[in-house]
Amino acid sequence: MTLGLINANPVVHERRERLSRADDPPHYPYPHPHPHSHPDDVLDALDVFDSVRDIRDPEHPYSLEQLSVLSEESITVDEKLGRIQITFTPTVQHCSMATVIGLCLRVKLMQCFPPHFKVDIKVSPGSLANEEAVNKQLNDKERVAAALENPNLRQLVDECLYSSELYSY
């Protein structure tokens, strides 16, 4: 039984400036020169990062980006093969919230990307004591499904994902 916060004094970083994509101006009613291909819209790491950067940490009212748990460089996307690989860094060596964070990531990516994408979530090498066990747990479909059936865990995950709708920092 753990009492108290896992990490009582997290280091909080500045939020990086959100790059807005250079969207095309609306072409209507003029025809778009390339109706069937738009190279700028290919799925890339920034898309994935934009969908996960605002997930709240389970313990603190900061986002995973602000606590440097996630960064754009830690995400790899291969659109042709349909794979997303995310590596995150828990803030302390013995963080037992790592599994919750991984679960939140998985739920968010399941919601935001089509089902044929294979998502691999790992902790960054050397950042956690029981790294192998956590990696195995996070990528095991049955254990993830079982965890999501637990209503309390589900609620916790919902809070982490949707509490960003309550606040705007």
Binding site: M1, G4, P61, N150, P151, Y162
Partner: protein, 592 residues
């Protein structure tokens, strides 16, 4: 925006602020110093082309907005540069400068003249420049090349703006000058049109035999360019300005006869000018009367007549009449409806007629609008809408070519005022859905499909409209889910998903049966090639999955704690969850 552009914009903003302070201060010397230092330097930089064109135009406009005096200085310099470039392009053949000339013309008429006319009276200046342009048109070499690369279109729009901001007296002066040049330079016999005994029978025969019309008398490229420019003047004059010739002995139908002649040859600017004249001063032109009577009697069997240009021209004339509230518009409307419903003269003619409805009901920047002094009877669109819709609804079931009727219907519905459409939502909703489905097969209809979808979303936003949607929910959802994968236009897919998202707020008992269908369609859209569509699909999926449930935030019930203790089978998940419960929440005061 990169750093240097940001810096440039901020500096310009600073200069504009300084200028407005200097202008508004009591001490006139400040304004003089500002003019000498800033305005004149910028103008000389512009003349010497040291800055790229778009930046220098933006800077000039910003500095000009400081005060009327500054804008007039900018105006003078821009006028001089326009004339220089015009001569370079048309006389010396430097066609690479054509784009610059077009940008300058658009900047001049669209921004400077508009700003000055809002700020005060610009009529004298506008008239002088218009006359200056007409003087250049006396040079045959300029006339020959002016239609190259879109210069004539830009020049026509500039002329329309200049005429529209002038007073009635100044407009008469411009008209007089242009009339003189037309009489002098146009090669076909213009005295033909001016005389009272103009052969209306000739017109009636020519109407039925376009070959006769095209063969004699012939007109050169210079003629057509001049007629286009004259047409732009006529399009923009006020209704009160007297049309040439001012000689009381000659016929006052010169202008309408001239443009009728060129319109029947397929010249679009002439058609616009003719429509504008009919709208503002419908004199009893016998030529026009005879054309309209031929239309209504349906004596025209000649296939050549039903070309796109002619039908479009008649639609413009019809628009001029409808806006005025004239009863003769009925003949043209009947003509167009017959073409659409029976399509006996070919699919192309029917499609042109369907697009004619778009011209009549829609708004255009080029002619027949408030800016160019059109005579507009209030609520003309609503009246036409209530006349046309029952006919089109009935013929959707009976017509030969359903696609054409749907296209006409789509144009009428999307161009009508939204309040009128929403008021009758229960009558037209099924027809709108049917039209969207029929039209979505062909890529040519993508604009109409998008407009109809916007109407559907407008009905959805309205409370009375929502009720009719709820009554026909399955059909509407069917249409929207089909449009989610519409391949031809991204905006259609995006808007369809947005509509579906907003429908998630409808009563749960109604939307529950269609939920699987919606989720299936939206999940497919997660894979769309465009990012905007993917993002909308994510939002839509979330809205429909979570449904009407409110996420209970921070509801940590005491009994759930016991439940967790008994669920030790989950091992490490429960282990840390216990730690989570025991810790005081750091989020500010959200205990429920």
């Amino acid at each position: 925006m990169d750093r240097s552009t940001l810096l440039w914009k901020s500096t310009l903003e600073g200069l504009i602020q300084i200028g407005s302070v200097a202008e508004n201060s009591i001490d006139r010397r400040r304004s003089l110093v500002y003019t000498a230092l800033v305005v004149e330097n910028l103008l000389s930089a512009f003349i010497n082309s040291t800055l790229p064109l778009d930046l220098s135009l933006e800077a000039l406009y910003g500095i000009g907005m400081v005060g009327k005096h500054q804008m007039e200085q900018v105006l003078q310099v821009v006028e001089e540069i326009i004339v220089v470039k015009l001569l370079k392009v048309c006389l010396e053949g430097e066609f690479v400068q054509a784009d610059t000339l077009i940008s300058l013309l658009q900047f001049y008429s669209g921004r400077i003249i508009s700003w000055l006319s809002d700020a005060g009276d610009v009529s004298e200046v506008a008239m002088q420049f218009a006359l200056h342009i007409w003087n250049q048109m006396e040079n045959k070499n300029i006339l020959k090349n002016i239609h190259v690369m879109g210069i004539l279109d830009a020049l026509m729009m500039t002329m329309k703006h200049l005429v529209s901001v002038s007073t009635i007296n100044h407009q008469s002066v411009i008209l007089q000058k242009s009339h003189e040049i037309i009489l002098k330079s146009v090669s076909c016999p213009t005295e033909w049109f001016a005389t009272e005994w103009f052969p209306t029978e000739w017109f009636a025969t020519a109407f039925q035999n376009p070959e006769l019309l095209m063969s004699s008398p012939s007109s050169s490229v210079e003629d057509l360019n001049l007629i286009s420019l004259f047409a732009s003047v006529i399009t923009a004059v006020s209704a009160q300005t007297p049309l040439p010739p001012s000689n009381p002995n000659s016929s006052s139908n010169f202008v309408s006869n001239l443009f009728l002649f060129f319109f029947l040859r397929g010249h679009m600017p002439a058609a616009q000018a003719l429509a504008s004249t009919i709208n503002k001063n419908p004199t009893d032109s016998k030529a026009i009367e005879s054309c309209l009577s031929i239309l209504s009697e349906d004596k025209t069997e000649n296939k050549q007549f039903f070309k796109k240009d002619i039908i479009t021209g008649f639609a413009l004339i019809g628009k001029g009449l409808v806006m005025r509230g004239d009863d003769r518009s009925k003949e043209i409307i009947q003509f167009l409806l017959k073409l659409v419903i029976s399509s006996q003269h070919g699919l192309d003619a029917a499609l042109s007629a369907a697009d004619g409805f778009h011209i009549i009901m829609g708004d255009s920047d080029g002619c027949l609008n408030k800016k160019f002094h059109a005579v507009i009877k209030p609520l003309y669109k609503q009246r036409l809408y209530s006349t046309l819709v029952p006919v089109l609804l009935k013929s959707m079931k009976e017509a030969n070519s359903k696609e054409v009727v749907c296209r006409a219907f789509g144009h009428v519905i999307s161009d009508a005022p939204l309040t009128a459409v929403i008021g009758e939502a229960h009558k037209i909703l099924l027809a709108v859905a049917h039209s969207i489905i029929t039209l979505s097969t062909d890529i040519q209809n993508k604009d109409v499909v998008y407009s109809l979808l916007l109407v559907l979303s407008g009905i959805l936003m309205d409370s009375t409209g929502k009720e009719s949607i709820i009554e026909n929910l399955h059909i509407v959802i069917g249409v929207l889910t089909q449009l989610v994968s519409y391949p031809h236009l991204m905006l259609v897919r995006e808007t369809a998903i947005q509509c579906i998202t907003s429908m998630s707020t409808l009563p749960h008992s109604k939307i529950y049966p269609v939920k699987p269908q919606v989720l299936k369609a939206v999940t497919r859209a997660l894979d769309d090639k465009r990012r905007a569509v993917r993002q909308e699909a994510v939002r839509c999926r979330q809205a429909w999955s979570r449904g009407n449930m409110h996420v209970r935030r921070y509801k940590l019930l005491g009994r759930s704690l016991k439940k967790v203790w008994t669920e030790m089978v989950y091992g490490s998940w429960a282990h840390l969850f216990i730690g989570f419960i025991r810790t005081p929440r750091v989020f500010p005061g959200k205990f429920v």
